[in-house]
Structure formats: structure tokens, C-alpha cells
Subunit: 343 residues, 2 copies
Amino acid sequence: MKDLNWTCPAPLPSEDRILMAHGGGGKLTQQLIEKLFLPLFSNPALEARHDGAVVTVKGVRLAVSTDSYVVQPLFFPGGNIGDLAVYGTVNDLAMCGARPLYLTAGFILEEGLAMSALGRVVDSMRAAAQRAGVQLVAGDTKVVDKGKGDGVFINTAGIGVVETQLAIAPSSVRPGDAVLLNGDLGTHGVAILSVREGLEFESEIMSDTAPLWEPVAALLDAGIEVHCLRDLTRGGLSSALNEIAGVAALTIRVDEAAIPVSAPVKGACEILGLDPLYVANEGRFIAFVPQQQAEQALAAMGPGAVQIGEVTGEARPTVILRSRIGGNRVLDMLTGEQLPRIC
Amino acid sequence: MKDLNWTCPAPLPSEDRILMAHGGGGKLTQQLIEKLFLPLFSNPALEARHDGAVVTVKGVRLAVSTDSYVVQPLFFPGGNIGDLAVYGTVNDLAMCGARPLYLTAGFILEEGLAMSALGRVVDSMRAAAQRAGVQLVAGDTKVVDKGKGDGVFINTAGIGVVETQLAIAPSSVRPGDAVLLNGDLGTHGVAILSVREGLEFESEIMSDTAPLWEPVAALLDAGIEVHCLRDLTRGGLSSALNEIAGVAALTIRVDEAAIPVSAPVKGACEILGLDPLYVANEGRFIAFVPQQQAEQALAAMGPGAVQIGEVTGEARPTVILRSRIGGNRVLDMLTGEQLPRIC
């Protein structure tokens, strides 16, 4: 815990206003949550610091999650804000081990938005909801004056049912757990940034945006004792590992050489000055499982899944990266903003 | 049903773009829902056209609702965007006859927003959640560039449990039903507009923003056979009556003389050129109940509750206002925008 308070006694001009980095999923986002939201809304569901909350209503365990989507541009290689808004929230439910059932959608439209663009976005949501097996059951539309929004912002909230008896959460992570990853990193962030910067690569890099309940269901159906799941959105792999190491109060070690990054993404990251370990993904997740079940779990997660590291017995909330050349370095949470408005 | 399609074969320039009035809760909002959203997301929960959806998960009946809040200014007499975002969604659940349990909150912050303003908003949400008896269990924060947002937008989604066996919905409205209203109209809209226009009235008009589960629970506890409930937000009383008359395919008659509007609100509406029947409220609702239970229902709804009309046997989806001077006129749905960004 940092001792920087959100209302600093003698705030610097830059400290008492919202910065882009407060939305980046890194350190400032964490501080905003820890200093502003958690103290005011103290309850076990929120304090679990998971992707969604698990609550019990009349004996039924439900997962609940929400995300707002402000991605720019609205349309990018491999997806758009519409399917992103469905998969993003569905995936937060899946990360709780919940089968996604229902979604709500709130639209904030900017005056002047082309109906045809909205039509394409909403049609993508329909297709994505169908693919993910969820029903959109409630919605809302607001319009803000031209210049007070940015085309369309979408909020989705999701409800899923938790049928597993496992407590899938950062606090369930144990020393000795294997850290598994379901595919290569960085395509979503690079796809967005390449459009934004007007870059063209030899082979177009497509966002990995996809629903993740299927591989999670496969893990559960295979009887894997899943300890924790986390999708690698804002802040990327590094921030996810740091958040989990923080809650579990354990050290996680990962091997740089084991983390798959495609050659085009690697090349694009070099040009764009990005580190793929911090770039947002929309179809990638990590699973913490007992080492003896790692092989079986990888098979369930599908082709492309690899083990990238393990949880050690050290009771220090740190992430250590073993680099390709053999050295060890602390892999910190994202500081500042790397890629604003990536989701 | 109008035959105007959202992608008109030969659209006028003004027809193929989003207008402020698409968010006003009136005719254009209805068209957007009917032409764009409903055809793509066809399911019984959405087609009920209620304030929230009622779904069943493992035998438990849940109400689900969402709203985004874009009110301007953020702070107004009697409330701010924070408590509005709690009560608005809690009330949508209550209108389904559901006891509100959990909320999610998604914040879209504009770069440069003062932390102290955000702190006040979030603290109001805490107090409002406590008063309404709900827990905020999941949240999300995004930041957009300065000039691409407007201070703060909040989306909340709510989950409630439906314990009544009644089907509380527009389709349950029956000929002979009494139409009851829980208090005077127009204070929320006038409170907002007076700040926006820099007007000062002799006595400050305060928004009526308040949670509504308590009077709804009182109705249910009293054994009232509630047919339909609707809070009178965007578009006001007239739009709510028209929406319900439309789904029920019945004529509703209301008495102008029976509809309470305070003298200060009446005066302010005259100055501002507003009709209180179309002004948004945030703590007012109408209840459709059998006429023989009307007295008992009014007692349960609390002081200020009055009967304003009844549902007739005419199978025509119309709202008729008996004016003070004795004439009858059709009370139409709000067309165009009366009060943009009122919630």
C-alpha cells in the first residue's frame, strides 16, 4: 500500500486532477481504487479484487461484473467497440468461473454520430452475444452534445452463474502453482495502435478479441483445481501478475522465453516503443493451477496454451521475470499510460 | 408502430445521424429502441419493454436493469450525479417489484476532472447505496481525453430479487385499473434547469431524487394486486403513460386537476416554457392497481399519493387528458427534446 492519498494534504497541481493514466489499468488506476473506491464501498465482494464479484442470492451463486468501453478508433482490425463490449464483460464473468448468462448495455452516444456506424456496432454486439451464449436483457441510451462525447461509449454489465464449488480468486493462489497462458500476447493493443498511428505492417495484425468461457468450462469439466483466472486486458500480462501477486502476497516467477509473442507483434512493438508484456489483450488469460495438473490443464485450454511460470514459496508480493539471457528482474505494474483508450 | 426505418432508404441528412432528442426519452428514443435494438436482440425480457428485465436463474427470479447518467450540471439542488446514479437504477428494479440487492458502477472520467469533485460524487453514491439498502459490488473506471467527455459519466447496473408472485409489467394493466401517483411533479427537471439557466426562484426548488423500494414494498406488503409500476424519469408522466398504454393497447384517462404540481414548479415551468407533464422526476412513480384497492394502495404509498386517472375499456393505445376547463385532449409522448441531459 502506498501512502499517497487521493486528496493529498498539499497536492501538486498534477496530483489532484484525473490523468489519462488513471484509466490505464496500471499503478494510478490501482491507487484510485485503493484510495477512493474501496474505503467508501467496503464489502467482501469488492475487496476480493477480482474481475467480477461473486454474490449469493437465495442460495444461487452469481458472478456480477461491469466495464465501460471507450476504445478509439471504434472499428479496428479484428473487431469493434461492440463485440469488445460483449466479450470483455463476458470474460470477466468467465474469470470468476461463472457461465455467462445475461448482459445489460448502456450507450452514451455523441450527437451527430452516424446511424450506420451505430447500426454496425449494435449488430456486432448481437453476433458476439450469440457466439458467447448470452442474452442482452436490458439497455439504455443517452445522448450527449457534440464535443462532449466521442462517437459512442458502451457500458456492459454481466451476470453469470457459478456452478463450480471452487473459490477461483487471487486469494486462492498457492505456492507451487503453475502459471498458464492460453496464447500469444499483444495483438489487440498493436491492432488498435496501428490504426491510430496509421501504420501498415506486412501482415495485418488482428485483435484477439474473443469469448473465453469455452476454455474455462473445459478446465472445469476436466476436473482441474483452478485457483485463479485473469484475462490480460488493460496493463497486460505484467499488471495482471502484479495484481494477483499483491492479493496473494506471494512471488510469481515467469520465463521471458516461454511467453509467446508473434514476430509481427514483436516487430510492431519495437517500432511503437511498446513492451508486449504490458500491452492489452482481449482473448488471452492466465490460469493458476496445481503444478501436477498443468499438462492436463494446458490440453483443456486449447492449442497455443503454454506454461510461463510458477508461484514460489516466497511470501513477498513480487513478479520476477527470468530474461532470455538468464538474468532476473522485477516486472513491475504499468506506470503512467502506455496505451490510452485501448478498450 | 411507425414505418420509419432507422436506415431510411433515402435518408434526409437530419435523419441518419444521432440527435439530442434520441436521448430525450420521447418519440425518437422509442424509435431507436424499436427499430435498432429490439429487432437485433429479440428476447422476451427485452420485449416486455419494462424498466428492468426479469429473468430466472436456477429458480430464483431476478430483476436486472441499467442506466447511464450524463446529467449536467453534475451538482444540483437536492442531489448530484452520484446519488442519481444509485437511485435511478434502484428505482428501475423497484418498478419490477424487485428488492434491490446489488449495484455495479462504471465511471467514464474526463481527463482533468478535479479529484475533489469525483470524491464528492463517489461519497454521495456511498450514502445513497446505504439509504437504498444496496451493495456496490463491482466497478470500473475509464478515462477519456479532455474534450472527449464531460466531467464524469456514470453507468450503474442493478440486480434485485423478485419475491412477489405478481407479474408487474405494462402487459398486466387491465381496464378499470386506477392510476396512482406518489407525489407532485417536476421538481427534478426544474432544479436542473434552474441551475443551467442561472435562474433563482424565491424558494429553491430541490430535486425529488429518492429511492422508491420502500413505497413499493409497502404496496406489496399490504397485499395490493399491483399490475404495473413506472417511475417518471425522462419524458415525464406523459411519456410513461404513453409507453404503458402502447404495450397494454388500452386507453388511459387522467385528470389534469388531480395531478399535483407545486406553485413554485408551476411558475418556473411558465418562465422556462416547460410542461410539467413532460418534465423528468427522480422520486415519483405511478402504480396501476384494481380500483377497489385504490384507497388502500394510496395509504401504502405514503402522504402525497393521489389517484390521477383510470384505465378505460377502450382497446386503443391512447392517453387522454381531461383538462381543468373540462375538455379532453390526447396527451402525446414527448417529441423532440424538452430537457437534454436531465439524468
